[in-house]
């Protein structure tokens, strides 16, 4: 039996319920906002404000010790026709692409080797991580010493001369190409363990059955690598490469310690040139602009890769 409640009674009940629900929702929203507030403050204070300040400074002629004056896009226009900055863009790209490319190749090799090492696996993992945990300045100084032209001091020259493979030492860092090679090698050596460890984690998530099935079908080791390992590592590889690209294009220590951007401007990159302009010439507006030039490219890259990864997941 159903009881038919008079409409006059039902409406206030429904209204009361709706009002309670609304109140509850408002309370929940308020609580949620309260919990979100610290994060919001952090994001605004630690990310939003510095970014806003950097963009603002790039639109001013800020000199250290003087108030900033708005100059619009004058800093960008200046850099667009600055021959040193053109060299800086070229050098930064060569340095970044060269370093990251080497890191990907050696990272994959490191992961494949470590995956197949049974005895002393932890020892070798620890050993490979050494470059990653060593101070960057120590790494830069060590590689500088390794490439030194003087026999008895430069490692490579000493070894090659002692082995009779050379008659005269090679001045590795005397030419633009050699100096660039040296900083790329130092950066690669510092960064490849990060790739190796990330790829190793990626390899662990590839189902073994895929390899077994491929083996049964007669696939060679190369075909298994090409059709199973690489696609299986795709996501890890994209994320690692993106992160490393961002870190490498913004690198400062290795180039500053090893070459100071020299010889000439052969290894001058965004961070070292920005430092020279901002702290040497005291032109903060222009110094910040040098670093901001690269931001749109990086943002575009991040957005494209994020969309690609999300689409893949869907």
């Amino acid at each position: 039996m159903t009881l038919a409640l008079p409409q006059t009674v039902g409406i206030p009940v429904v209204r009361a319920r709706a009002s309670i629900w609304r109140r509850a929702r408002t309370r929940e929203s308020a609580t949620a906002l309260l919990f979100l507030l610290p994060l919001f403050v952090l994001v605004v204070a630690l990310i939003g404000y510095p970014v806003y300040r950097a963009v603002w400074l790039s639109l001013t002629d800020k000199l250290v010790g003087y108030p900033e004056r708005f100059v619009g896009l004058r800093n960008y226009a200046y850099l667009a026709q600055d021959d040193t900055f053109h060299a800086v863009i070229r050098n930064s790209l060569v340095f970044t692409v060269g370093s990251v490319g080497l890191k990907i190749v050696t990272g994959v090799l490191m992961a494949l080797v470590l995956q197949n090492v049974i005895r002393g696996r932890n020892f070798f993992r620890g050993l490979f991580l050494l470059p990653w945990i060593t101070s960057t300045v120590i790494i830069a100084l060590t590689w500088r010493w390794m490439f030194d032209a003087f026999p008895g001091r430069g490692f490579f020259n000493s070894v090659l001369l002692d082995a009779g493979l050379l008659r005269r030492p090679i001045a590795f860092m005397a030419t633009p190409e050699g100096a660039m090679m040296a900083v790329i090698v130092a950066n690669w050596w510092r960064g490849f363990p990060f790739f190796g460890v990330s790829f190793l984690a990626g390899l662990a998530s590839i189902p073994r059955e895929l390899y077994e099935a491929a083996s049964v079908d007669g696939a060679s080791a190369w075909r298994r690598f090409w059709h199973i390992t690489l696609p299986g590592l795709k996501h890890v590889m994209i994320v690692t490469t993106l992160l490393s690209f961002i870190l490498t294009i913004n690198d400062f220590n290795i180039v500053y310690v090893m070459t100071r951007g020299g010889p000439g401007t052969a290894t001058q990159i965004f961070a070292t040139y920005s430092y020279q302009v901002a702290f040497g010439q005291l032109r903060w507006g222009r110094g910040v602009t040098i670093c901001l030039f690269v931001v749109p490219i990086l943002v575009l890259g991040i957005v494209m890769i994020s969309r690609y990864l999300l689409r893949d997941r869907k």
């Binding site: 250290v64 032209a149 030419t175 401007t265 020279q276 010439q281």
Partner: protein
């Protein structure tokens, strides 16, 4: 006949005048309130005993005046960064040691206290600096810092190498180049010279000495921009690049950092180089730490054979760019009077000589009273006699004009050393490099209005 007796009136007037003079504050040492606390920033050099001696001198002042001094160090590497951060965050020290370009730059920013009157007041106590050094501390006719010493650059050579090859020790840049060619033995990994055009004082400093000694400046006596496109500058650029083309230097010289020439000279890989007295310090220090008789003999020989010559002269004379250190007071100081008192103490001939004695010749006093008081110290040997004359040859950044903010930026922008690098590395012509350098310098002067 004139009465030589003194009247009572004149005696009383004289006594009153004398007591009034005695009660006036002594201009050379401004008053210090008990409990005053000052922050002093000083340069930390490679010569550790000098750093400690300066700190000890500051503490002597604090003890004498019932005050306290907190000493903070900066190095050549972080000097600019530290001051820039302090200026932007309004946390500058009371007293700061300032390098060659800093007084003009910081005074232009309105950061430094005008010390014109104070400089006049203490002149009787500490003496005067040579005009070229004085120029570093002034903007227009106002004094913003008080000079203390110059860390000169000298031409280091191995006497035994020169004697063995019967080559004369150089006195000019041309002689140095010819000597380098005569002494060069690349097959033995021994080179005639080691001069890097890098981004340190060993690069831009020597380039300025080379330019100024050839009579080339990028500014006039009024401190305004002047074109570099002259035949004399072509000779400068030719010398700077010929030493690379002729193979008389190690192939990687251009990439040496600040210590590259020190290391290569001490290791006897090169016959000559330009450097501050830190090479002498290293050799004296090495001897003090000799492990056995054989080691001691080798180090004694090295010390005896290394010679620090005056920096080479050019066709227009001998002008040596150097790091000129002075003291300035920042406007943020809560007690500028005490800061002046501290500076007066540090600059006094006694304190200057006390610090200098722990400097291994690196500290070349510039104020004439301290120079007179340090004569004995610099008579130790030929090298020290040369160190003692650093102030005589000093030429400031922006010579023949005063050091201005624009002149300082020319030095900081590395355009002076990037220009020869363009010829050496990028194979530009000398004229192309001068044209590029001149354009960059003009641009700096245009934006900073000279």
């Amino acid at each position: 006949m004139h009465d030589s007796r003194i009247s009572r009136r004149s005696l009383l007037a004289g006594a009153a005048g004398a007591s009034a003079l005695l009660t006036l504050p002594r201009p050379a040492a401004p008053a210090v309130k008990k409990g005053t606390s000052l922050k002093l920033w000083i340069l930390k050099t490679y010569v550790e005993p000098t750093n400690k001696a300066i700190e000890a001198s500051a503490q002597r002042w604090a003890q004498k005046n019932g005050a306290s001094v907190t000493v903070e160090y900066f190095t050549f590497e972080d000097m600019q960064t530290k001051y820039v951060a302090a200026i932007e965050s309004n946390s500058t020290p009371d007293v700061g040691q300032l390098e060659t370009s800093a007084p003009a730059r910081f005074a232009g920013m309105g950061q430094l206290v005008d010390l014109t009157t104070f400089a006049r007041q203490i002149e009787g106590q500490v003496g005067k600096a040579p005009a070229a050094v004085q120029a570093v501390t002034m903007v227009g006719d106002k004094v913003y810092s008080l000079p203390w010493y110059v860390m000169g650059a000298f031409w280091y050579a191995w006497r035994d190498v020169f004697e063995k090859a019967k080559v004369k020790l150089p006195t000019t840049f041309e002689e140095a180049k010819r000597a380098a060619a005569a002494l060069n033995r690349p097959k033995d990994n021994f080179y005639g010279m080691g001069q890097s055009w890098n981004r340190t004082a060993d690069g831009y400093g020597v380039m300025q000495s080379l330019m100024y000694s050839h009579g080339v400046g990028w500014a006039g006596k009024d401190g305004k921009y002047k074109s570099l496109k002259t035949p004399a500058m072509q000779n400068v650029m030719k010398w700077a690049t010929d030493i690379y083309k002729d193979g008389i230097q190690p192939a990687d010289t251009l990439t040496w950092t600040g210590s590259g020439n020190n290391e290569n000279f001490i290791a006897k890989n090169i016959a000559q180089t330009s450097n501050g007295p830190s090479i002498t310090f290293a050799l004296e220090n090495a001897l003090a730490k000799a492990t056995d008789a054989k080691d001691r003999k080798a180090k004694e020989e090295a010390l005896a054979n290394h010679v620090a010559l005056p920096h080479p002269a050019g066709p227009d004379g001998r002008r040596m760019w150097a790091i000129a250190m002075s003291f300035g007071i920042f406007k943020t100081s809560k007690d500028p009077e005490a800061a002046m008192s501290l500076i007066a103490h540090l600059l006094s001939p006694e304190e200057t000589v006390a610090v200098m004695k722990d400097s291994y010749g690196q500290f070349g006093p510039v104020l004439d009273k301290a120079r007179a008081a340090s004569k004995d110290y610099f008579n130790k040997n030929d090298n020290y006699r040369t160190f003692g004359r650093a102030a005589e040859w000093f030429a400031p950044t922006g010579w023949p004009g005063p050091t201005t903010a624009a002149a300082a930026e020319v030095q900081a922008s590395n355009v002076l050393t990037d220009a020869p690098a363009k010829v050496i590395v990028d194979k530009w012509s000398v004229d192309q490099a001068i044209e590029w350098e001149d354009k960059k310098i003009k641009e700096i002067y245009d934006t900073l209005k000279g």
